[in-house]
Subunit: 346 residues, 4 copies
């Protein structure tokens, strides 16, 4: 099978990782790296390389030896660049969040559908071994009904003038939730609390609460100010509970056969008998591989098979809807704010 | 110095720990254990022991060879038992929360003041080596201004019919906050979100948000449904950040000389320059000793010196005020709810 | 069933733990604590207690209301005290090592057999949940053939004038090996290397190598000088490998379904094909209970049933034989030194 | 400054890492990768690259546009390839161990000196942030006198037909010891114990004991059969003790202000008083950078400045001397075997 031809647009923080993975992929030939800053693009390409450096987006998109582009520019520029690329007939994978607002995001998704092109969002974590395993264990009923999900993602982060900690970090957690929940991320409401102790005009510490079906709840803690890095994700189920500690290299995922059983002995729920199980723990073996490598492979497969990719534009919009509702909740003292999503689940 | 004479009331979950510590204290002579269930009280006393077993509260309080009582009964009974003890002229230490409502609590505190008796709340964690060290590091300015505090206390817990997870577990976190914050726990408001996935009629998973002075925020996560135990407490300061992991026996407390610096370069706050420090970490040596032993020592010292104990009735009321406001916030979709505390800080 | 009557001899470091467990055991009534130092013994007994304090060993042994004694005195005194107790018709449990030399040890075991009395060695670790589980997993073939065992027990320890680190700490490791190996601890030889960097005249850092059956090897690292405590025990088997980390309170025991497979493809062993399995890990639930409580229960059961206890005098002698051979190896530059044990395995 | 021109010889396990670091180094231009297997070499070079692929060693060495070569072939081939490269006037960095025998190794070192060429050994760990910091803390006296060093390096490893676990893994530990000890690795003797439970004809589990100056001792545990990876290195000093846990990404290095103090109260050493300090722990910030990148930078600097590199041929020979003496000790039941090293310390 001949390779597809790709270009990476944006040679900043994430672009080099995309370029590296396109280069080493059996599915792709990386033709060019595009950035307004030629030196920065050249650094990504490296020496003794025949990958081209392009500084003009128009020039890049006008070429007909490029099938697809990967867009790794600031969120505020996504709408313009992705629209131009789709109009030039290129398949697109774009960094998260898909756009900086729902209207722009929906227009991009509609355009891609209209042109019959693949529009994918780089929800990288959805291509990691732990997340794939969590999705599998929920889907096959191993964990039982979801009772709660708690995600902590805290670390020293780059305080940014125009993006708060929710828009910077929470897309990771929200895209994971969207991917693992059987019906996708379609909470009815979201509550958000934020703090700005540095007084930079943006939340640097944030908490999201997402009521899920049947009384369950998801909670997300994102924080730029913590010197200690914590990435912990707990899924409490009626049968088993799962803990993903992304910083425990030798045992990322643990499934506990422990939990709370409720035996209804009468019509009165509150009088039900509660019992506790304290069983074994189990750490499934994970086949580690670089997530971005899996992602670019999925991008190629979706293009070739003419099917939506695993993390398509609609997934990107579901994440965006939560971020926008969180902004409203934040302005309303953290009260649960309804989300009116119209995004079908893949 | 002759010993003070004590009795423990309540031989359930916590009573045996109190009894053991009164028995081994150089300040105390444990005279009796009192419980309606004689066998249960006898079990606490043990064999080949001359500690008495008493089943009548009135009989116990009528004795004049007892200086003080420790009350370890359900919260709903505190008002009645503590009031009777104070009226009988006994000094009292009572389990947390001090009462199941603010009115009852305030009456108890007033009665003790009126009679000139010591009323202490057993905020046990305030007598542990890590909490004492945290208080010291905040007080002496080592951490700088508080920016955020995040407390996680999750574990398989006993789902109870009449007490939710906030009233069961959060008093620990709130009493610690009250103890370490220079001005005590006097937030202006509290937001609470809870989930009841087991449908027992009570929150089993709960989150509290407490705006503090100067844009800082405290957050508490309490959870009865987690099979994996986490007890982590992070204090982010403008100079240093501290992490207390109570389950890391060999390094409970770590102070990171890392953080975010803000250099204002213009009138525009958002354009301020942010820089990052990545310095050493430091784990202060802690002198471990059983917290309850320290607590009963403080109880004796407060009685002898006629001064308020470290965790006095007012501290108990400040915790109670937050719990009551949280109940209101929960009913209002998690919106920040004002707290009108009248409790002076010790 | 009526209780058996016990006395504890020696109120130093370990005696208080024994006393506490005899007191709380349903099988035992603790009658007395015996020590030359009356104040020390009285402190173990505590206040408001009717347990007696005795300062004369002869007087204690002469009483006929005592069925058994627990001896927690220095190793050099074991032979004299245990012999006196057996001659007085008392059953005995003695701290490890059973004696400070093989001749004395063998005489004690012979005397007990002669009198029909129970002689048990307090190999405490053999009564912990992890060790019981390890023994079970080896016995039922879950781990396959043993390939290597590596035990590390390092910590700041009390440098002692007359006992080196081997005699102080290694009895723990050796007694565990004796308990879990299907044939008991009967290595053909032992190699020992030691260091005395403080120049106290005794090894403070020590390493033991024990060739086991079929090319397997056990290794023990004991160290008094390490400020960081490590207690890790690895059992490598042909089917699975087990890691016991005694300081990981939430997951002490992990069984890895990983390892090395050897497929012989020809007569030439060295040309055999090696392959690697990388499967799941599994952490069996452990029923935690205080080991000393289980130990005093086994002591009572052995006496009542007239059978050898789980860690009998012969187990004590097998440990002693290794310690004595290690002393010879140390003097011979660490060369493997034969052990001629005559101890039958229980 | 113009770049130096390099080629990598050997495109197996380690070659790709060397190639990647030469490519991204500001000091080097990677001209070619050489391997008998053209496809393997081409895979290292990658697509859209102008780095050349060469299959003939003679052809490679005959080129005059190459200043230096990095040799990443099996140890048995080092002598032949390195000698040819030096005779062709190329500077050489060679993988560890420098050779498979002392005679060959010494000839290589002599030849390089004779020709005025740089001969460096790729002791990669000596270029990592933790090892550089350990060396610094020993050199500046922070740890005091060395009392013991214990290194554990266990993991599932590739059982090899012609190299045992000592020759495969111990060069890492020995090169680290050589680098951090003020006088280099010049023990007077070595003891070795090994086990071959798979009966492949080679030790798969190995232990080395190295008496150091003043009663100190170093010990190394290398193991191919452990499914759990442990890389722990403890340096016990008279002032402080250091623990390097290479798998604790957030706190690799910890320095404990704890230890054992010896106060001599009389001429009798054994009667000296021992006391214990239990102070703070301290985790120095480490500037992380890829060790191989630092190594290729040092290689360039040594060539340009005409000085010996940090890990020169003599360091390689000191490691080799220990490996050869260990082989003798293994054959003598583990007895300490003298080492007659003639290698001066840099």
């Amino acid at each position: 099978m001949s390779k597809l031809h790709a270009a990476v647009i944006g040679a900043g923080y994430w672009g080099p990782n995309l370029a590296r993975n396109f280069r080493s992929s059996p599915d792709w030939d990386l033709v060019a790296v595009c950035d307004l800053d030629e030196a920065r693009a050249r650094k990504v390409v490296g020496e003794r390389s025949t990958v081209e450096v392009v500084t003009s987006l128009d020039e890049l998109l006008a070429r007909d030896d490029i099938d697809a582009v990967a867009v790794a520019t600031p969120a505020a520029t996504h709408a313009r660049i992705v629209t131009a690329a789709l109009e030039a007939g290129k398949h697109v994978v774009v960094e998260k969040p898909i756009a900086d607002g729902g209207v722009a995001g929906r227009a991009m998704v509609a355009l891609a559908a209209d042109r019959g092109l693949t529009l994918m969002v780089d929800h990288t974590f959805c291509y990691t071994a732990p997340v794939l395993k969590i999705r599998e264990l929920i889907a096959d009923g191993s964990l039982g009904d979801i009772q709660f999900i708690d995600s902590v993602r805290i670390n020293l982060g780059l305080v940014q003038p125009d993006v708060d900690v929710f828009w910077d970090l929470a897309p990771h957690d929200l895209s994971i939730l969207d991917f693992i929940l059987p019906g996708g991320l379609v909470p009815t409401a979201v509550g958000a609390q934020g703090a700005d102790p540095l007084k930079v005009g943006q939340s640097c510490v944030g908490y999201l609460t997402l009521p899920l079906a049947d009384g369950a709840m998801a909670h997300v803690h994102v924080n730029w100010l913590s010197p200690t890095k914590i990435r912990q994700f707990v899924v409490g189920g009626s049968k088993k509970t799962l803990v993903w500690d992304d910083l425990a290299p030798q045992q990322r995922l643990t499934v506990f056969d422990r939990g709370v059983d409720l035996r209804e002995t009468s019509a009165d729920r509150a009088a039900a008998q509660i019992s506790y199980r304290l069983g074994d723990a189990w750490a499934p073996a994970l086949k580690e591989s670089e997530a971005l490598g899996v992602m670019v492979g999925e991008f190629a497969a979706a293009i070739r098979e003419g099917r939506p990719p695993r993390t398509d534009g609609h997934a990107g919009l579901r994440v965006l809807d939560v971020l926008e509702a969180a902004r409203s909740s934040l302005a309303d003292g953290g009260r649960l704010t309804p989300i009116h999503s119209m995004e079908a689940v893949k």
